[in-house]
C-alpha cells in the first residue's frame, strides 16, 4: 500500500498543536485585539514535537478499517484529524480555495481520563483551521480556533457522522459520511459545501498503516479521499457565491513523534485534469535533505493507487517568498517530476501570500499545476524560518 506523505505532515502538525497545548510553552498569551483566544508561540517545529507517548495506543501494525466507525474519533490515540482542502471555481470561473481542518488532541492519556464531575471536564482538545484563498482578489483569510472536546462545544462522532468545533462542522447524513457537508464562517468569510467522493477511499502506506519515522509505533492509521466533487456556497468579501470544484480529504490518527533530525515538511496534493491525483511529501531533515520516510501516492482516474517513495520523485525549488514580517521564507515555485509516470510538473501558487499566521505558522495554499499535465491542488509547508537550518531560507 502507499505510504502517505499527507498523513506525515498532518501528523506532525497535529502533534505540534497538541504539544503546544500540553506544554503551555511558556509563551501562552491571550490577546484581546484579535477577538478570540490565541495560543501564540514562537517555538520551532522540532522543539514542539518532542512528545511523551506513554499511555496512548500506537499504530504498530496494519488494522482492519470498519465503517462508519472509522469516520469517527479514536480517543485511544493522541492525535487525530479531519482534513479537507479544495479548489473551487466561482460563477465566472474565478479560482477559490479553502482549507478546513479539525484536529483532536488528547491532553492526557486515555486511561488517565478523569471521572468527569462536569461535562466540561475533558482531556480532549480540539483545534481547527479555516482558510479561504480568494483568487479573484488575491486575498488570503485564515482563522484558528481552540475548543475543549466537552460540553458539546467541540467533538466528533461516527453515527451520525459529525465533527465540530463551535459552528464549524463536517457532518454527514445519518448512516454515512457522504455527502459530507462542511460549514465554517468567521468575520465575513464562510463556506457551506457538499462533498461527494468520485473515487474510492485510498488506504495509505501499508494497508492504511503509514510509517512516519524509525521505530515501531512511529506511524499512523491513514486513509484519504483524493477527489470529492464539491458544490455549495462560498462567502467572501461580503458576497455569497455559488461554487463548484474538487476537494481532498484526509483522515489520520496516531501517537507518533518526529525524529530529532526532522524539522518540517513540504506536502503536495495535486488533482490533475487527466483524472490522476498525485500526492507527495518530503520530510526535511536538519541538514536540508529529504528524509527517507518521504512518500507519496498516485491515484489513477479509476481509483487505482500506486505508492511512491523518495527515489520515485524529485522536487526542485525555483523561487521563494518571505512573509511580510520577514521571519519566514517559503519555497513558492517548484518542478515536481515522477519520471516513471511521465510526470513533469511546474507547481506555482495562485499567489504567494497564503501563510497561516496562527499559533504555529505554516504555509498552506492553492497551487496551479502546468507541464506534462495541468491541474490544481494544495501545498503545505512547515518548519520554515524557525531554525537556521531551513533549506530554503
Amino acid at each position: 500500500m502507499n505510504p502517505s506523505p499527507m498523513s506525515r505532515s498532518r501528523l506532525l502538525l497535529a502533534g505540534l498543536f497538541g504539544l503546544v497545548a500540553l506544554l503551555g510553552l511558556g509563551a501562552y498569551w491571550l490577546t484581546a485585539s484579535s477577538g478570540e483566544a490565541e495560543l501564540q508561540t514562537s517555538v520551532s517545529v522540532s522543539e514542539a514535537m518532542a512528545g511523551d507517548t506513554t499511555g496512548y495506543r500506537r499504530a504498530t501494525a496494519p488494522r482492519a478499517f470498519t465503517f462508519p466507525d472509522d469516520y469517527g474519533p479514536h480517543p485511544g490515540y493522541k492525535t487525530e484529524w479531519w482534513y479537507v482542502t479544495g479548489t473551487l471555481s466561482g460563477p465566472d470561473a474565478q479560482p477559490y480555495g479553502y482549507e478546513l481542518t479539525i484536529f483532536r488532541t488528547g491532553l492526557t492519556p486515555p486511561d488517565e481520563a478523569p471521572q468527569p464531575p462536569s461535562d466540561w471536564r475533558t482531556n480532549q482538545l480540539y483545534l481547527a483551521h479555516f482558510a479561504v484563498t480568494d483568487g479573484a482578489n488575491e486575498k488570503f483569510h485564515a482563522f484558528e480556533r481552540f475548543q475543549r472536546g466537552g460540553a458539546g462545544l467541540a467533538g466528533a462522532q461516527a453515527t451520525p457522522f459529525r465533527v465540530w468545533l463551535d459552528d464549524w462542522s463536517m457532518a454527514g447524513p445519518d448512516s454515512s459520511a457522504f455527502p459530507l457537508r462542511l460549514r465554517a464562517q468567521q468575520e465575513g468569510i464562510g463556506v457551506d459545501l457538499s462533498l461527494r467522493p468520485t473515487k474510492p477511499r485510498v488506504l495509505q502506506g501499508d494497508r492504511g498503516l503509514s510509517q512516519k519515522g524509525p521505530g515501531s509505533g512511529n506511524a499512523s492509521y491513514y486513509y484519504s479521499y483524493t477527489r470529492l466533487a464539491t458544490e455549495g456556497r462560498l462567502v467572501v468579501s461580503g458576497d455569497t457565491l455559488s461554487v463548484t470544484g474538487n476537494s481532498w480529504m484526509d483522515r489520520e490518527w496516531s501517537t507518533s513523534a518526529l525524529g530529532p533530525d526532522q524539522e518540517g515538511w513540504d506536502w503536495f496534493s495535486l488533482q490533475l485534469d487527466d483524472g490522476r491525483d498525485l500526492m507527495y511529501y518530503q520530510l526535511r531533515r536538519t541538514d536540508g535533505t529529504p528524509s527517507r520516510f518521504s512518500e507519496g501516492v498516485i491515484v489513477g482516474p479509476n481509483g487505482s493507487a500506486r505508492p511512491l517513495d523518495r527515489s520515485d520523485v524529485s522536487v526542485e525549488v525555483l523561487d521563494t517568498w518571505t512573509s511580510p514580517d520577514g521571519t519566514h521564507t517559503y519555497p513558492v515555485d517548484w518542478t515536481l517530476r515522477v519520471p516513471d509516470e511521465d510526470i513533469d510538473l511546474r507547481v506555482t501558487p495562485l499567489f504567494p501570500d497564503q501563510e497561516l499566521d496562527v499559533s504555529v505558522r505554516y504555509w498552506e495554499g492553492f497551487v496551479r499545476v502546468k507541464g506534462s499535465a495541468s491541474g490544481r491542488g494544495y501545498v503545505e509547508m512547515t518548519g520554515y524560518g524557525d531554525s537556521p537550518g531551513s533549506p530554503v531560507s
Binding site: 511558556g26 491571550l30 477577538g35 475533558t122 482538545l125 481552540f146
Partner: protein
C-alpha cells in the same frame, strides 16, 4: 505682625489646655467623618475593583433567571457563531491557609483571553492547559501565593459551603499593572469544569460574558442575534449593571453611617462655639479697649474668625491623621457588616482618596468658622462701652433666653414640617433631625434658667447657701453654662436616641425571630453572607436528614437571586406547612386568602422592606424572570421580615419548581417528634451526615442566638460612632467648665476673701457642675426620645422600610442620666482643684 495678631497669638498660647481641648474636639469630629467616609469608600472600591477585574472587557452578560444558567445556552451561542463569548462559573470559597475568602472564578482558558487578558500574561507563566483543564487545579495571584507561603504544586484546601476541596496550585498570575495586581489578590482562577465541581453545579454556568461591538447599529444587530439564540429563561444585560445593583444595595446603609458620623462633628461645632464665645467674653475688656483705640469692627471680626480658623485648621489636620488611623480599624468592621448583610467583600487595604481628605478638612474648617460666627458677631456688634461690662451680656442673654427658645421652637417646628412634606428622602429625615437638635440647643438657655431657678430652693435646703449659690451661678453665667449644657444635652440625647433605636430594633428582631423560628432544628450550609445565604445543601445530606428517625416534619427554604421588573430580587421558595401562617405575620393581606393563593399558583408574598423599596403591595403584580420566561406573579400579602433590608419575595416551593429548574435547598427546618428530645435529634442528625458536607445543624435557640450575635455585630460601627460622639461631648463639657472656672477666678477670690474655705469653694463648684450635668441629663431624655422616634419611624423606615416597635428601655435612660452627671462632675474636678488651690490675693489682683 500687627499688634492685633500678636494679641491674638498671645491669647491662644496663654490657654493651652482650653485651646488644646477645642482642637481635639474638632479633630475627633473630623476624624469620625473622615474615617467613615474612608471605610465606606475602601469597601466599595474593593468591591468595584474586583467586580471590574472579573468582568474584564465584557460589555454584556447573559445570566439565568435564577442564580444559574443552563450551560446549553453557551453551546447555543457558540453554535450560532457568537464569539467572542466566555463562560463563567463563580462563587466564593475560603482558603484554609491564611483563612482568607477568595472569589473563585471558573473560566474557559480557551475562550477567556479577549475578556481577561491579564490571567495569562505572567512572564514565564507555565500554564499547563492539560493540567488546568483535566485536574482540579487553580491559579492564584503570585503576590498572594507569596504572602501565604504557597508555591506551584502545593495543594490548597478550599472550603465551599461546608465542603472542603483539595485543589492543586498549578500556576501564578502576575498581571503587568499594579491596579490589576491588587484586583486579582483575592481571585482563585479555575477551569469551568473545576468550578462546576466545587460549587456542585454541573450543567450550569453563572453567566456568559460577551463582547459587543462598540458602534451603535452594529451593537444592536449583534445583541439582536444574541437574543434570538437565548431561551426563555436567559437574559441579556449590560455588564456594568451588576456593579450598579451592588452599589444600590448598600446605599441606605452607607448613608446612615455618614449621617451618624456627622453627628460627632456637630457636637464638635458646639465645642468651638463655646470656646470662641468664651474667648470673646473673656477679652471683652481688651476688645473694648481696642475698639476705643480705633480698631474697626471688621478687624475685630476678622480677629475672632482668624483665631477660629487657626483652631479649625489645626484640629482638622489632626483629625485627618486620626481619621486615617481610625478608618483602618473601622474598615474591617464595615467589611464584616457588609459581609453579614449584603455580599462578600474582602477589603485588604484602605484606599485613601484625596477627595475624602479634602472634604473632611473643608468640613472641619467650615464647621469651625460657622460656629465662630455668632461669637465674632457678638464681639463686633456691641458698642464700645457695653463690651467692657460682662454682666450686661449675661443680663441680656437671660432676658433674651425666652426669645431664643421661641426661635428654637420654630426651627424644630420647621424640622417636623420637613418630615411631613417629604416621604422617602433619608436626607430630609436627617435634616429634620438636625433642625430638632439645633432648635433644642436654642431652647436650652431658657430651660436652664427655669430648671436652675426651680431647683434652687431644693439645693438650698440640702446644701444651704452653697447650694443656692450653685444654682444661682448656673443662671448668672448663662453665656457659658448654657452652651456647655447644650453640648452635653445634645451629645447625651444622641446616645439616647441611637441607643433606644438599636434597642427597639433588637427587641423587634428578637420577637420576630421567636415568631418565625418555630421548628425545632435548623440546618444550613455555612455561608459567607449571613443574611442572604444562597448556599446549597448537598442533596444527599438533605435526603439523609429528612429520613432521620424522630423527624416529624421537614420544611425547606430555597433562596436565590432573580431578576424582576423592579430590579434584582431575592426570592425565597418555602414549603408551606400548616404552621406557616403563624410563622409569617402579614402586614397587609389576610392569611386566609393569601396562603391558599400562594400554595395554588403564581402568587407571591413580599417582605415589608421589599414592598417599601419597590413601592409594591397587595393587588400589584410582580414580573419575575423565570426559566420559563418572564412571568407575572400576583402579590397577595406583605409580611414582616427583618432578615434583609433588600427585601424578599416569597413563593411556594411547588410554584418555584414549576417556574425554575433549580432543585436545590438552602435551608431545612425540622420538627421533632413529641417523643424525641431536640438535643438527641440533633446528635442523630450530625451522625447521619458525618463526613459529608459540613452543614450547620442548630436548635431553634442556637440559631436565634447566632442571629442576634450577627445582629449585634452589624451594629458595632454604630456603637463605636455613638461612643465617639460621647467623647466629643465630654471634651465639650470639660472645656466649657474650664473656661468658666478660669473666667471666675476673681469671683472665687472674692468668695475666699469673704471667708469661704477651699473645701467650701470646691463643694460649690462641684455641686454646680453636677447640677449642670443633671440639667443636661434631664433635658436629654425628651430630646433623646424625639431622636429615637425619628430614627425608628422616619430614618429606618425611609432607609430600609422596616416597622419597628419603639421600646424605651429604662436602663438606657438611667445610664444617660448617670453619664451626664458623671461627665459633668469629672469635668468640674480639674477647675475645682485649681481654683481651690489658687491664692485669693492673686485672683483679686486681676485688674
Amino acid at each position: 505682625m500687627t499688634l492685633l495678631h500678636r494679641s491674638s497669638r498671645r491669647y491662644l498660647t496663654r490657654h493651652p489646655w482650653l485651646m488644646g481641648l477645642s482642637v481635639l474636639g474638632v479633630a475627633i469630629g473630623v476624624a469620625v467623618v473622615v474615617a467613615i467616609d474612608l471605610a465606606n469608600t475602601s469597601a466599595s472600591r474593593a468591591f468595584e475593583l474586583s467586580a471590574e477585574t472579573v468582568t474584564g472587557a465584557a460589555t454584556h452578560q447573559v445570566v439565568g433567571a435564577g442564580g444559574a444558567l443552563d450551560d446549553d445556552v453557551y453551546r447555543r451561542l457558540r453554535a450560532a457563531g457568537l464569539r467572542p463569548s466566555a463562560p463563567i462559573v463563580e462563587g466564593y470559597g475560603s482558603l484554609r491557609r491564611g483563612d482568607r475568602t477568595f472569589q473563585v472564578v471558573g473560566i474557559d482558558p480557551l475562550a477567556d483571553a479577549p475578556f481577561r487578558p491579564y490571567l495569562g500574561t505572567g512572564a514565564g507563566s507555565d500554564l499547563d492547559l492539560g493540567t488546568f483543564m483535566t485536574d482540579d487545579t487553580a491559579l492564584l495571584s503570585a503576590r498572594t501565593a507569596e504572602a501565604l507561603g504557597l508555591a506551584s504544586g502545593d495543594t490548597l484546601r478550599v472550603d465551599i459551603e461546608g465542603t472542603t476541596h483539595a485543589v492543586v496550585l498549578s500556576g501564578l498570575i502576575s498581571p503587568q499593572n499594579e491596579r490589576t495586581r491588587r484586583a486579582v489578590a483575592n481571585l482563585l482562577v479555575v477551569d469551568v469544569s473545576t468550578a462546576q465541581r466545587l460549587f456542585d453545579q454541573a450543567g450550569t454556568l453563572s453567566r456568559i460574558d460577551l463582547l459587543a461591538p462598540a458602534e451603535g447599529s452594529a451593537q444592536r444587530a449583534y445583541l439582536d442575534r444574541v437574543r434570538e439564540v437565548l431561551p426563555d429563561g436567559a437574559q441579556l444585560r449590560r455588564s456594568d449593571t451588576r456593579t450598579e445593583t451592588v452599589a444600590q444595595m448598600t446605599k441606605a446603609f452607607d448613608l446612615n453611617l455618614t449621617a451618624l458620623s456627622l453627628l460627632a462633628l456637630i457636637v464638635g461645632a458646639f465645642l468651638i462655639y463655646n470656646t470662641m464665645t468664651f474667648s470673646v467674653v473673656q477679652r471683652r475688656a481688651l476688645i473694648g479697649r481696642l475698639r476705643a483705640l480705633g480698631v474697626t469692627r471688621g478687624e475685630v471680626f476678622r480677629l475672632v474668625l482668624g483665631e477660629a480658623a487657626v483652631l479649625g485648621v489645626v484640629g482638622s489636620g489632626l483629625g485627618l491623621l486620626l481619621g486615617v488611623v481610625l478608618a483602618s480599624g473601622l474598615v474591617q468592621l464595615l467589611a464584616q457588616t457588609i459581609n453579614d448583610l449584603y455580599f462578600v467583600v474582602e477589603v485588604s487595604e484602605l484606599s485613601i482618596s484625596a477627595w475624602t481628605l479634602a472634604k473632611g478638612a473643608l468640613l472641619g474648617v467650615g464647621t469651625t468658622l460657622a460656629a465662630a460666627l455668632p461669637p465674632a458677631q457678638e464681639a463686633t456688634a456691641a458698642s464700645v462701652s457695653t463690651v467692657l461690662r460682662r454682666s450686661t451680656r449675661e443680663t441680656t442673654l437671660r432676658r433674651r433666653a425666652p426669645g431664643w427658645a421661641g426661635v428654637g421652637l420654630l426651627v424644630a417646628g420647621a424640622g417636623s414640617l420637613l418630615l411631613l412634606v417629604t416621604e422617602q428622602s433619608i436626607w430630609a429625615g436627617y435634616g429634620a433631625l438636625f433642625c430638632v437638635l439645633v432648635g433644642t440647643a436654642f431652647m436650652i438657655p431658657w430651660a436652664v434658667v427655669g430648671l436652675s431657678n426651680g431647683v434652687r430652693p431644693l439645693l438650698g435646703r440640702v446644701a444651704g447657701v452653697i447650694g443656692r449659690m450653685a444654682a444661682r451661678g448656673v443662671v448668672t453665667n448663662l453665656s457659658r453654662t448654657g452652651v456647655a449644657i447644650a453640648a452635653l444635652t445634645i451629645a447625651i440625647a444622641a446616645t439616647v436616641g441611637v441607643g433606644v433605636m438599636i434597642d427597639s430594633f433588637r427587641g423587634t428582631v428578637t420577637n420576630w425571630l421567636e415568631q418565625s423560628l418555630q421548628a425545632d432544628v435548623y440546618v444550613q450550609p455555612p455561608s459567607l453572607v449571613f443574611r442572604r445565604s444562597t448556599a446549597t445543601i448537598d442533596s444527599t445530606v438533605a435526603r439523609r436528614l429528612r429520613n432521620v428517625e424522630g423527624v416529624k416534619g421537614a420544611y425547606s427554604v430555597r433562596r436565590v437571586t432573580v431578576q424582576a421588573d423592579v430590579g434584582r430580587t431575592d426570592l425565597v421558595a418555602v414549603e408551606p406547612g400548616p404552621e406557616t401562617a403563624d410563622v409569617y405575620q402579614l402586614k397587609a393581606g389576610s392569611p386566609e386568602s393569601a396562603w391558599p393563593a400562594v400554595r395554588a399558583g403564581p402568587s407571591v408574598l413580599v417582605s415589608e422592606p421589599y414592598s417599601y423599596r419597590y413601592d409594591v403591595g397587595v393587588g400589584d403584580t410582580l414580573r419575575l424572570q423565570t426559566d420559563r420566561g418572564q412571568q407575572a406573579f400576583a402579590i397577595k400579602g406583605v409580611y414582616y421580615d427583618y432578615g434583609s433590608d433588600l427585601g424578599v419575595t416569597l413563593m411556594s416551593r411547588s410554584t418555584y419548581e414549576q417556574y425554575y429548574d433549580d432543585r436545590g435547598v438552602s435551608g431545612l427546618a425540622f420538627a421533632a417528634a413529641d417523643t424525641t428530645s431536640v438535643d438527641a435529634l440533633i446528635a442523630d442528625m450530625r451522625t447521619s451526615v458525618a463526613g459529608l458536607q459540613d452543614v450547620l445543624i442548630r436548635s431553634n435557640r442556637a440559631l436565634r442566638e447566632t442571629s442576634m450575635r450577627v445582629f449585634d455585630r452589624t451594629f458595632t460601627i454604630t456603637t463605636v460612632l455613638r461612643l465617639l460622639a460621647i467623647a466629643v461631648a465630654f471634651i465639650g463639657v470639660l472645656t466649657a467648665l474650664m473656661a468658666l472656672a478660669l473666667e471666675r477666678r476673681r469671683e472665687m477670690g472674692v468668695l475666699r476673701a469673704t471667708g469661704m474655705t477651699p473645701p467650701q469653694v470646691g463643694g460649690y463648684l462641684t455641686l454646680q457642675s453636677s447640677l449642670m450635668g443633671a440639667i443636661a441629663g434631664i433635658l436629654s431624655l425628651p430630646l433623646g426620645y424625639v431622636l429615637a422616634y425619628v430614627l425608628v419611624f422616619v430614618i429606618n423606615k425611609r432607609s430600609f422600610g422596616w416597622t419597628l416597635q419603639l421600646t424605651v428601655p429604662s436602663d438606657v435612660l438611667v445610664q444617660s442620666l448617670v453619664l451626664a452627671v458623671v461627665a459633668a462632675f469629672l469635668a468640674g474636678l480639674y477647675p475645682t482643684w485649681r481654683m481651690a488651690r489658687s491664692s485669693p490675693a492673686l485672683a483679686l489682683q486681676d485688674e
